[in-house]
């Protein structure tokens, strides 16, 4: 695998929730086109770090961020950054599948519709093309092609989570952030979604938060271990689990932090 260019780079990233500091000087380089997983005990700041990468943290008025986060070479905390454009480029999948309470079709087309000016509205045929492309890419097309107008919230959780991935794709993101995307799913669904994520590798840069070490081990190329808001270790997944450099990493993967 030749993945050399850096897709996401954080430098001296610090974050406070009010007076509570949740991230400390995080310096991280995430390579383009591979799957990088963030692991660490609950509360160590994985979700917080992930949420800095599309700046969705900011809707909480009491969050303060310092340092920089570059995505594809651009500082996303710079003054001139337009959040709508950033979030087109950086998709996010949540812990609980959260399809919108509209039809499957409208879910997939939601992003395209809000980002297309009225004048350039896609024709019916173009929309169908986008729809089919996205649903095929997440292996959902054959499953749902006969009920595209059904409400998305009636799908099974596995299908819902795949749909949540599918609705990012028409926007052609370069980075996809996933916050424990399988933790609400049963083992079989987990396997299916993991398989999908693995298939998307190469096309997208994927940052995957997980508290499940087996999942990190199975489903990622590189692994970042975090503890109490600090980045402790970042190496290839195989190395991290076999020869951790830091004793705290070793303690964690041996289950000493729970």
């Amino acid at each position: 695998m030749v993945a050399s260019s850096i897709s996401v780079r954080t430098q001296k990233l610090n974050l406070w929730y009010g007076t509570f500091q949740a991230l400390f000087d995080v310096d991280l380089e995430i390579k383009q086109g591979i799957i990088t997983s963030l692991i660490g005990p609950s509360g160590c700041g994985k979700s917080t770090l992930l949420r800095c990468m599309n700046r969705i943290n900011e809707r909480l008025g009491y969050v303060r961020t310092e340092g920089r986060v570059d995505i594809d070479g651009q500082n996303i905390y710079a003054e001139e950054i337009e959040l709508a454009q950033l979030r087109k480029q950086v998709g996010m999948v949540f812990q609980r599948p959260n399809p919108l309470p509209i039809s499957i079709r409208d879910n997939v087309l939601f992003g395209t519709r809000i980002h297309t000016p009225k004048a350039d509205k896609l024709s019916k045929e173009q929309e169908e093309e986008v729809l089919e492309g996205a649903l095929r890419e997440v292996l959902l097309w054959d499953n749902v092609k006969d009920r595209l107008d059904d409400t998305a919230t009636r799908l099974s959780l596995e299908e819902q989570q795949k749909l949540c991935i599918a609705r990012l794709l028409p926007l052609k993101p370069s980075v996809i952030l996933m916050d424990e995307p399988c933790s609400a799913l049963d083992p079989k669904a987990t396997e299916a979604v993991e398989e999908l994520i693995w298939q998307m590798r190469g096309t997208y840069t994927i940052v995957l938060v997980t508290h499940n070490m087996a999942q990190a081990r199975r489903a990622s190329d590189e692994c970042v271990f975090m503890l109490m808001g600090k980045m402790i270790e970042h190496t290839e997944t195989a190395d991290l689990f076999v020869t951790p450099k830091d004793s705290r990493t070793a303690d964690y993967i041996e289950g000493r932090y729970g």
């Binding site: 599309n54 969705i56 809707r59 008025g61 959040l83 709508a84 454009q85 950033l86 979030r87 087109k88 998709g91 996010m92 949540f94 609980r96 959260n98 399809p99 919108l100 309470p101 509209i102 939601f110 992003g111 809000i114 980002h115 409400t151 919230t153 009636r154 949540c164 609705r167 990012l168 926007l171």
Partner: protein
């Protein structure tokens, strides 16, 4: 094994006693409602006829119908809603979707809750000062319905805010993460999923307005008018005030007349409530999450 001990029996006895207590309390609560309704129907029904609804009062309001009052009440409530619903919904959207969580927002919220508790006679005085005198609307339909609108505004805001907050936060996050603005999120997801709840909630809360007397008495409702109002600057009769008048102010009113007026008034409120509850039940069945 598994047979009751004396302690179990004692516990059962206590629990049955409490069950009975709560049941009695509940019945006590329902009883007055039943009595009132029965009384109204039994004594008021003889007065009700199409003519009663569609004719003018006659012979010093001791006979005839209630048409101008009925129409006036419908006018006043409709116009009050026209003012308070758009304003209240807009304010609620701002407070629930946009306002930052700071001391100012908290003070505004507190003020709204307290405003809902202000006695209607105080609103009446405010209406006289503001609409009748300051804005120069005189005692008129306009002044009266604006006063009613101000009075209902806090309940509209609270009912709307509750409906908005019933829309799961996860939907909003999903939209924001796709780059939607707050307005796109509200317009495409939040409102479509709460507007029915908002409207039914608002009607349910506001139907009470139909029965209010104090706020309209000094601002636009008249004792008796032999003709219908021609513009919003005219006064109007209203059912609530008419009931007060025929029940206490006019001599020699036949017994069934005030009960008839009351029955119509309660009927209007009940019909509005029933429609709104039916609508809500229907929509809940269609709920998508």
């Amino acid at each position: 094994m598994f047979t009751a001990t004396s302690l179990n029996e004692r516990n059962d006895q206590v629990q049955r006693r409490f069950r009975l207590l709560f049941l009695v309390m509940t019945l006590l609560l329902v009883l007055p409602v039943l009595i009132i309704l029965t009384l109204l129907v039994v004594r008021g029904a003889p007065a009700i006829s199409l003519e009663f609804l569609l004719a003018y009062p006659k012979s010093g309001m001791t006979a005839g119908g209630i048409f101008p009052a009925l129409l006036g009440t419908i006018f006043l409530v409709a116009m009050a809603l026209l003012f308070s619903v758009p304003l209240g919904i807009a304010a609620a959207i701002y407070l629930s979707e946009y306002a930052p969580d700071n001391w100012l927002t908290r003070i505004i919220n507190l003020a709204i809750i307290n405003l809902a508790g202000v006695p209607s006679i105080v609103h009446a005085l405010f209406g006289v000062g503001a609409f009748v005198i300051f804005f120069g609307f005189g005692t008129s339909i306009l002044a009266a319905s604006l006063t009613l609108a101000i009075m209902t505004l806090p309940v509209v805001i609270v009912a709307t805010r509750e409906s908005l907050q019933a829309v799961p936060q996860a939907f909003r996050e999903a939209c924001w993460a796709l780059g939607a603005t707050k307005w796109q999120t509200i317009r495409r997801i939040v409102l479509p999923n709460s507007i029915s709840g908002i409207l039914t909630g608002v009607i349910l809360e506001v139907s009470r307005t139909a029965g209010e007397t104090a706020p309209i008495m000094f601002t636009g409702a008249a004792f008796f008018l032999p003709f219908l109002p021609e513009s919003v600057y005219d006064q109007t009769m209203a059912l609530s005030l008419h009931l007060f008048v025929v029940a206490t102010q006019v001599p020699d009113v036949p017994d069934h007349l005030p009960y008839g007026v009351a029955l119509v008034l309660v009927g209007i409120v009940l019909i509005m409530n029933a429609t709104s509850i039916g609508f809500r039940t229907y929509l809940r069945g269609k709920k998508k999450w």
